[in-house]
Amino acid sequence: MRDLYSKLMHLVFRFRGAHPLLSFVLNRLVSMIVILFILGFAVFALMELAPGDIVDRYVQNQMLAMAEGGGDGKGTNGLFSEEQIAARKAELGLDKPFYVQYMHWLKQVFVDQDLGRSMISRAPILFLIKTRLINSILLNMISLLMLTVISFALGIYFSSKVGTRTDLAATFIALFLHSFPGLLLLILLQLFAAVSGLFPVTAYPGFPFGENPGRFVFSYMHHITLPLIGAFLGGIGGTMRMIRATMLDQLGQPYITALRARGISEGRVYFAHAFRNTLNPYITSSANLLAGLFSGSLILEIIFSYPGIGRLMYEAVLQEDIYLVLTNLMFTSFLVLFGMVLADILLAVVDPRIRYSNK
């Protein structure tokens, strides 16, 4: 037994020595699975701690509705009996301890390969997520791309103007935007749209893609302009300041002075050397940026009525639709963790110091 263990460990160490980056990635993937497992467990435990469950919530609301004396006044509605409530809970598995429910969910997802159905509507969760995910990814990717390109350009430009009035003004504006409440910014933008009539007050065209694809694309771009500006203005301050600060830090390094002393052109100093080194902290932070964009777009989705995944998640949490919440949460957590792994790989690609190699 001991021999087997030592052989196994020997193999592991040999593999790590031969393929350091691959071993690192595998390591991160394994830890990602463990973290996701614990996270799911914690979510179930937390939902258990919250008072009541989906059936209680529904029955309570129904009791209040009943007290109104029969909705539209055309018919009476009965009430749930205690036996019916117990039967409903049993049907949804809510009468079992939370860890049993969690195991049941895991078996359903990984063994049966079925994300399950929403507790309330019995709608397939895959359908619910699928219909909204593409919208969220589209908006967030455009937003991330725009934010990255513009904030890099501005960060680098203003780092070359350090100490000037332009730089002072840019720093002030960046700080102002960074500290401006995102919610207020979105509401102001929506009011601007309503008053000026230049933009729609919702962020999604009023007709589906299938109706008229060409018109949809133009309409979509028109509809997301303001929310994009909102997301951009909300994010630009922080990112631009980070790029500018890192650039300044790099430009003050002795190797830059050495490069300049050798007569290397200023453009090459900026883009081939200093800029490349600013990527390191940006990539590390952009892993969180992706997840942040998903969770941060919730307010945008509600105010601008954008059909994204944040709205779905929000409603599911309010209604304690636990399977839907869990699937959603797992997806977002997976994005964060996957983003981090991706960031580590990218770092290794751009930064020769981080190659996880002993060679």
Partner: protein, 611 residues
């Protein structure tokens, strides 16, 4: 450096000067002047609205056409009628695809009218039982979008739905329990259904009830889909059909419209069902509107902006939006003042011994204390300050639509601090030298009032109540809480003192079966009593029971009059304010009648240009 600072001096001076000059010397308004100004403002607001209630004039004959744009706040969660019972948004959406109820209650005439069936009530006095015989219309069909296929609806459909869907114990629908009546010996007996012929069916009531139509009125779904599914998949599997990913164009409609498109999170599109049975007085099919598009907009502010931008055709106006809509120049919409809404918030005091200290329980179980609290409730002030004068004090127990609503039976404990002091004195409560109200044992009268934290209007009402109580030395602490926490307090922990909430309206005398009888699980001041705790609750139980089984209207009126009067005398809860309901509709639509009693009948709307 100093020079740099000097540069800022002119800027600072300019700001100071602007601030000083902006201060005016005019005196502040007195309270009376402010109230006059407010009343003028309110009249100005109302002058910008019109009253055009339903039930007065006949609808004009219209022409079909046009697209009606509206908003809904939520996505439907299912297209299955069985699962829809847990989701209001789905039942609202699917309701339009159903043929309608068997009968229709007209709140203006206060009588039952035929809807998809005519009816006859046969009373068997000697057997103490009755039958309600419904004869279905001959032109009821399930039809399909873009198809000539039609499925006729007959008595079998109603019988199937009553017995095997609503009456299926395994499906655990709340309507199941509604099929049972309490017999004189306390046992439960089911109202049964029988098919008499292809279009006629009869409900057999095991005892005579006061309002049999209400007890058996129902609507029904497509049997040809649900029956095979039930046989094949069982009561569990049937809930998994027609989920949200179903192609909506395959959904049959027996109602006014087809659902022709659902884009998650974006919109729902409906088109007129030409086979729908309802017609206008000249035999033309209604609704006149050809197509309806409901955008899914979760945020009410966004809905408001969409209406202002002309993107939707109607908007249920919130109090805060009214002024802006009224003051818009040359609007292309009209604001309809629907009058006072039927529901109202109330204040109630806990009388359940399990969650209260002895002295507080002593105060709250005292009728005079509750009457004094009602006398300290300044409803007029709430109307003025919270609803900007657009509302009226809620003094009746029954809603105006209730067949036994009686204008003369009202809460007499209206705002009167002197009367309140007298009532408190009669139970040994007096103010001390510092003005603090103390009970007969010298304990200062102080309690908490809870309400839901997401409703500013309720918090404002609680604050006004608290302020009025403080004037006579009673300290009322306003505690806003999460709504679900409130429900939990009412239904399981019972550890609240006073509460400010709303249950909607008492539309039917037998409505609120879980509130008014002492055994009710939402008899909120002391729920689930094995035996009535007080003599007046015992009397309320008796009256509720007698009234429910007294079909003779004159006799029933005597019972329900006493029922209302007793609740308005004992005041286990007292109502505050009926706010006014407003609706804005674009001027291009004709046949718009709106009031809070009947709402807006959109099936009669037609485009003016089409005239």
């Amino acid at each position: 450096m100093n020079l740099k600072i000097l540069k800022f001096i002119p800027i600072v001076l300019t700001i100071l000067l602007i601030t000083l000059f902006s201060c005016s010397k005019s005196e502040e308004m007195t309270l009376e002047e402010a109230q006059i100004r407010k009343a003028e403002n309110q009249q100005g607001l109302l002058a910008g609205t019109i009253r055009k209630p339903g039930g007065v004039e006949e609808f004009a004959i219209g022409q079909s056409g046009g697209t009606w744009y509206t908003t809904v706040t939520k996505d439907p969660k299912t297209f299955n009628l069985i699962a829809a019972d847990s989701d209001q948004s789905a039942s609202d959406i699917l309701g339009g695809l159903l043929p309608g109820y068997l009968a229709d209650y007209d709140p203006y005439k206060k009588e039952w009218l035929p809807e998809t069936a005519s009816f006859e009530i046969v009373v068997h006095e000697e057997e103490d039982s009755l039958d309600v015989i419904f004869t279905l219309r001959d032109d009821l069909y399930w039809s399909f979008y873009n198809s000539d296929k039609k499925v006729k609806i007959g008595a079998d459909d109603v019988v199937f739905w009553y017995n095997e869907i609503d009456g299926n114990a395994d499906l655990q629908l709340p309507s199941y329990n509604g099929q049972f009546l309490t017999m004189p010996d306390g046992s439960d007996a089911r109202v049964t259904i029988e098919k008499l012929d292809d279009r006629t069916l009869s409900f057999h009531f095991p005892r005579i009830v006061a309002n049999p139509i209400l007890s058996c009125n129902m609507t029904y779904g497509p049997r040809f889909i649900y029956e095979p599914a039930l046989r094949e998949l069982g009561s569990e599997g049937i809930k998994d059909i027609l989920t949200i990913d179903t192609d909506v164009t395959t959904l049959p409609s027996g109602g006014a419209r087809f659902l022709t498109e659902y884009t998650p999170g974006v919109r729902l599109v409906y088109e007129r069902n030409p086979d729908y049975w309802e017609t206008d007085e000249e035999g033309q099919k209604i609704p006149y509107i050809e197509k309806s598009i409901a955008k899914i907009i979760p945020d009410l502010n966004t809905s408001f902006l969409l209406f202002k931008n002309g993107e939707t055709d109607s908007y249920g106006i919130r109090a805060e939006d009214l002024e802006e809509l009224v003051n818009t120049e040359d609007p292309d919409y009209t604001i309809y003042d629907g009058g006072a809404i039927m529901g109202a918030d109330f204040i109630s005091f806990n009388q359940n011994a399990s969650g209260l200290s002895e002295h507080i329980l002593g105060w709250f179980t005292n009728k005079e204390f509750r009457q004094a609290m009602s006398s300290l409730t300044n409803r007029e002030r709430m109307v003025k300050q919270i609803y900007r004068g657009l509302g009226e004090p809620a003094l009746h127990h029954y809603a105006a639509a209730n067949p036994f609503y009686d204008e003369s039976i009202s809460n007499v404990y209206t705002y009167n601090p002197e009367k309140a002091l007298e009532l408190l004195k009669s139970i040994g409560m007096n103010q001390d030298d510092q003005g603090i109200m103390r009970d007969s044992e010298g304990i200062a009268v102080e309690f908490d009032i809870v309400t839901n934290s997401d409703n500013n209007l309720r918090i404002d009402s609680a604050n006004i109540f608290s302020d009025e109580c403080s004037k006579v030395g009673i300290k009322v602490n306003v505690r806003p809480l999460d709504f679900q926490k409130l429900v939990e307090m009412l239904t399981s922990t019972y550890d609240w003192q006073a509460i400010l909430l709303s249950f909607g309206s008492n539309y039917w005398p037998t409505g609120g079966s879980n509130v008014w009888p002492s055994a009710g699980n939402l008899h909120l001041w002391n729920p689930l009593q094995d035996e009535p705790a007080t003599s007046w609750e015992a009397r309320v139980d008796t009256l509720y029971n007698e009234g429910s089984f007294t079909p003779d209207e004159e006799k029933a009126k005597v019972i329900w009059d006493e029922f209302q009067a007793l609740l308005l005398e004992e005041l286990p809860l007292f109502y505050l304010v009926h706010s006014e309901g407003f609706l804005a509709v674009r001027n291009k639509w004709d046949n718009v009648y709106y009031d809070t009693l009947g709402g807006l009948d959109s099936s009669r709307l037609f485009l003016k240009e089409a005239e």
